[in-house]
């Protein structure tokens, strides 16, 4: 499975992003399980609340984390989307 630059992606319907005040971390919830997210992953997940491309997510992250290199940001976005896809948490919407 590869993440393609031309495609738009969105979190799968079964996924829910919440902030866990006990563990002080954003969490991605899905049947039976959850992923505790760091700040960058949470920003990517939030962007995927609607259909977006890798470039659009990267642009949002560049504004949020101006000190990070654009190349690192794009790599982080692709790596995280691949992790989501591997778990069936991401849908491709054309």
């Amino acid at each position: 499975m590869t993440i393609e630059p031309a495609r738009r992606y969105q979190l799968a319907d079964k996924v829910k992003l919440v902030f866990d005040s006990n563990r002080k971390a954003p969490m991605l919830l899905y049947p039976e399980r959850g992923l505790s997210l760091n700040e960058v992953a949470a920003a990517i997940a939030r962007a995927c609340g609607q259909p977006v491309t890798v470039a659009e997510i990267a642009r949002i992250l560049r504004e949020r984390f101006p000190e990070a290199s654009p190349q690192t940001i794009e790599q982080d976005v692709i790596a995280f989307l691949q992790e989501l896809e591997r778990r069936g948490l991401l849908q491709s919407v054309g």
């Binding site: 499975m1 799968a12 919440v18 919830l29 049947p31 959850g34």
Partner: protein, 363 residues
């Protein structure tokens, strides 16, 4: 300081129209106290969220038997819990399911017994095959994520390939092929349910392959019966570590079967979940490693499987702190291997259905 509970299993009722011979409800379910009220459950849900719970399973019995299910789902949604309805799908109308979806369900888990009508009836004890099929269609039509759950045993293990195809056909997001755990009703019916090794391995192989080719589309989970493994299962991820279970009468347990143990469990909401989780002796009983006996005490796997299942240890040895006999190192291993040796034998077997008189009751 114990870990925070992550999942609340809210067993809303022991009532159920089905009579499956492996039901996880206690065999003496009728003897327990009255069901909690709507507001008592709402208090419990609120306290659970404050305590750290993020996942909620609404289960039973059949949770649809509760008329206030919609209100409970709405309350859970307002707390930002991930709400999973665990149901047989009976009895349900499309209108009610739509109302539950609006109330905030995040996932629906429907169990089926078999892809064959006659077998389904023989296992469930009632004819609900068509009702379930209908419910599966409604779940997808309403755009709800669907988990299809099948409890496996010797009378449906040969269906694994067909069940995977069926799950794809109905558009399941997740397929749970979970072998029976031999506690409660399932222990009573063990001789009729426990499969032999060869068909089990064949089924496991099929499911593992399917899990690979379906990755990203449908999650396929296959749970081995611990009677056929070398190591015990890490029951509940360890005693009172991740799961909090509330029985219909409010009794708070580390797992659904724990009320079979010789421990005193407190009731919610008359006792707060924080008190129960952090300070009650029953929840402390098997946390950590101090309670362990040999061979668990010195075992290198003790932090992986936590000595196995306490309820199974008690059911098979009479000692809740014993090593689970599902472990190949258990001094009581013979209890498991003897049952396993008989599992291959062909002989007439009948189920004792759930809901018939409890197995220990006279007359």
């Amino acid at each position: 300081m114990p870990d925070l509970p992550y999942t609340l299993i809210a067993e809303l009722t022991y009532r159920c129209p089905l009579r499956c011979p492996y039901c996880s409800n206690p065999t003496d379910a009728r003897d327990h106290g009255p069901e909690l009220s709507t507001s008592e459950w709402q208090t419990i849900l609120t306290q659970a969220r404050e305590l750290g719970v993020l996942q909620l399973h609404l289960t039973g019995g059949e949770p649809l038997a509760r008329k206030d299910l919609e209100a409970l789902v709405r309350h859970a949604r307002s707390l930002d819990l991930y709400v999973n309805l665990v149901t047989s799908g009976v009895p349900l109308s499309k209108e009610r399911l739509a109302e539950l979806a609006r109330a905030g369900l995040d996932n629906v888990q429907v169990s089926i017994q078999s892809i064959d009508r006659a077998r389904s009836r023989a296992i469930a004890g009632v004819d609900v095959f068509d009702d379930k099929r209908q419910v599966l269609e409604w779940v997808k039509a309403l755009g709800l994520p669907l988990t299809l759950n099948v409890v496996l045993h010797r009378d449906n293990l040969d269906e694994v390939e067909a069940l995977i195809a069926y799950a794809e056909q109905v558009g399941a997001d997740r397929l749970e092929l979970a072998n029976t755990q031999y506690l409660g009703w399932a222990l009573v019916n063990r001789e009729a349910l426990l499969p032999a090794r060869a068909p089990l391995i064949a089924a496991h192989t099929l499911a593992s392959k399917a899990a690979q080719w379906l990755a990203g589309r449908m999650e396929v989970l296959f749970v081995m019966p611990d009677y056929h493994t070398r190591h015990p299962r890490a029951c509940m991820d360890g005693w009172a570590r991740r799961f909090l279970h509330i029985a219909p009468d409010g009794t708070a347990l580390p797992c659904h079967a724990a009320r079979s143990l010789p421990l005193t469990f407190l009731r919610a909401p008359e006792h707060s979940l924080a008190e129960i989780w952090h300070r009650s002796p029953a929840f402390e009983a098997f946390r950590g490693q101090a309670w362990m006996k040999p061979p668990c005490r010195d075992c290198e796997r003790r932090e992986q499987d936590f000595g196995g299942c306490r309820c199974q240890a008690f059911a098979l040895t009479g000692d809740p702190a014993a090593t689970d006999p599902a472990c190949s190192l258990s001094p009581h291993r013979k209890r498991v291997t003897d049952a396993r040796a008989q599992a291959g034998e062909q002989r007439p077997r009948r189920y004792l259905y759930r809901g018939t008189r409890g197995p220990g009751a006279p007359g």
